[in-house]
């Protein structure tokens, strides 16, 4: 259980610091880097290193992107993907926090569920794809099954770490002041666990997007993934790349949103306060 990575909360400050610097001082080389990246994507197919049939120049992908933006169907697909992502993530967050707090605060329960959690967690959620197809077809529920399964574990494990991280002195102090079980959970356990919960939410948000798009791509549920599959089998290569770019932008948006949420909800937390001071 004590792996270096899943205890991501303490490492958070450095990562958030990176994001902060990225916008402030080092913007220029970053912009240059991005421009170089785009330029090479334009040049490689033009000079024939790669056939333009496989990788159209970025300008043509850009045109396809503009065309996409004018289609109502594209926005519906984007909406479907975002809906699957959001609903699935919300269910996983609620379930993960509830289950995590119940298991985490009762040592007996934690002891007896640890092996099961460790066994179920690494099972790849894509193993559920055939089951989802048989039971739910290409419904939104197929997407939700995969998204919830994959992101639930991310959150649960972080919540468990968080609840375990509670300072015993704080608990004892709260007890001395006559705080009941509920008040202790609210005022001691919850604030301690919150950074971990939000780390879990951030990790889960990225995983949920991957699984939502996977479900659409493989199962054929409506959404961006399905559009990519259709574009690919129809030979609309530039359109397919444009859709891939959209999924990338969506991924960036999800990351930014999760970090923003973290900063907003944890503005009181010492790790963030130090960062602002530094």
């Amino acid at each position: 259980m004590t792996s270096a990575a899943t205890r991501a909360a303490p490492a958070r400050s450095s990562r958030a610091g990176k994001a902060g610097r990225l916008t402030a001082g080092n913007a220029l080389p970053g912009v240059a880097g991005f421009a170089a990246f785009l330029a090479s994507l334009e040049a490689v197919p033009r000079i024939g290193l790669v056939s333009p049939d496989y990788l159209p120049p970025i300008s043509r992908i850009g045109t396809a992107l503009v065309e996409l933006a004018g289609e109502a169907g594209f926005w519906t697909a984007l909406g479907d993907t975002v809906r699957g992502w959001f609903v699935g993530l919300s269910i996983a967050v609620i379930l993960g926090i509830t289950v995590g707090f119940v298991i985490g605060t009762l040592p007996v329960l934690r002891e007896f569920t640890a092996s099961t959690i460790e066994f179920l967690r690494p099972i790849p959620s894509v193993a559920l794809i055939p089951l989802a197809v048989l039971v739910f077809g290409t419904d939104l529920r197929s997407v939700l099954l995969l998204v919830v399964y994959a992101s639930f574990w991310q959150i649960l494990v972080q919540v468990l770490y968080g609840v375990q991280d509670v300072d015993p002195v704080a608990t004892e102090t709260a007890r001395t002041f006559g705080l009941g079980r509920w008040a202790r959970t609210r005022h001691v356990t919850w604030p301690t666990a919150l950074p971990y919960v939000l780390t879990g939410v951030r990790l889960a948000a990225a995983v949920a997007l991957i699984l939502a798009i996977t479900a659409e791509l493989v199962i054929g549920a409506p959404g961006l993934g399905n559009e990519i599959g259709v574009a690919q089998s129809g030979g609309a290569v530039a359109r397919m790349y444009a859709l891939v770019v959209v999924t990338g932008l969506l991924g960036v948006a999800v990351n930014l949103l999760a970090r923003r949420l973290e900063r907003w909800l944890l503005s009181w937390h010492p790790s963030l306060r130090r960062e602002v001071a530094a």
Binding site: F112, R121, P122, I123, P124, P130, Q232, G251
Partner: protein, 264 residues
């Protein structure tokens, strides 16, 4: 006596719930008429017929695993070497960061149709898909790890004239290894997903291919055996990864424990 009691309790704690769940599954589905949910007894009985008595292990499972390991090892080599390069140069990092942030944000499964254009539906495509999915967590974690190498250690190794490959191995890689291993673990779980998806999307053999084939032919019991096998595989690979982590990072866990004053 007390030790024996503790061991018994630990074993009981580890086995009780899984046993109870399996028993529950067994009993609840014992006379299940449901088409989707065949009795567990039938599923387990079918494992033998579907996977062990046929050549599926060598024809489907082995190629899947080889592709996974091929893609993963290439991603490790590429990710760590690029990560060390990018992590040690502030200028290079500033140059690459936005591009990397964007590339990482692309959900890896959408690369399946993209790479199909370049490499068809053969082994090359699948290895490339796995490589391109595993690469980002490994690369970005390596960059983070290399960036955070302790300044004092850097100065110290300069004083001792440690340079070249020795500096790289004993200072940079060693300091970054907790993050690198984190990247490896994240990369491996993405790799398994991509192994399955690339085979479900387009393939002529492989574990994912046979599972989706069972589903398409409505061979539900066989499909369940495939799901169980895949789950078991995920668990085994994660366990192997953890054993590896324990071995490689034993110094790190010890260090952290010491820093916390052994309070935990």
């Amino acid at each position: 006596m007390r030790l024996a009691g503790r061991v018994t309790r630990a074993v009981a704690a580890a086995l009780a719930l899984p046993a109870a769940l399996l028993a529950l599954w067994w009993i609840l589905t014992a006379d299940s008429e449901s088409y989707y949910l065949p009795p567990l007894s039938e599923i387990l009985a079918a494992v033998d017929d579907v996977w062990l008595r046929t050549d599926r292990l060598s024809v489907d499972v082995l190629p899947s695993l080889l592709r996974l390991f091929g893609g993963f090892l290439l991603a490790v080599a590429l990710g760590v070497s690029l990560g060390v390069a990018i992590g040690s140069s502030r200028r290079l990092r500033a140059f690459c960061e936005p591009v990397l942030e964007f590339l990482r944000a692309i959900p890896p499964p959408v690369l399946v149709p993209v790479l199909m254009l370049f490499a068809g539906i053969g082994d090359t495509m699948k290895v490339l898909v796995i490589l391109s999915g595993c690469l980002w967590p490994i690369l970005l974690n390596t960059v983070e790890g290399v960036r955070a190498v302790d300044e004092v250690l850097v100065e110290t190794s300069r004083c001792y004239a440690l340079r070249g490959p020795a500096r790289l191995w004993h200072l940079v890689i060693r300091s970054a290894s907790p993050q690198i291993v984190t990247g490896l673990r994240q990369g491996l779980s993405i790799g398994i997903i991509l192994m399955v998806i690339s085979e479900m999307f387009a393939a002529s053999n492989g574990l994912g291919f046979s599972i989706i084939q069972f589903q398409r032919t409505f061979a539900v019991t066989e499909m369940w055996t495939g799901i169980l096998l895949l789950g078991l595989l995920g668990f085994l690979l994660a366990t192997l990864m953890r054993v590896f982590e324990r071995r490689v990072l034993s110094w790190y866990f010890g260090l952290r424990q010491a820093q916390r004053g052994g309070s935990r």
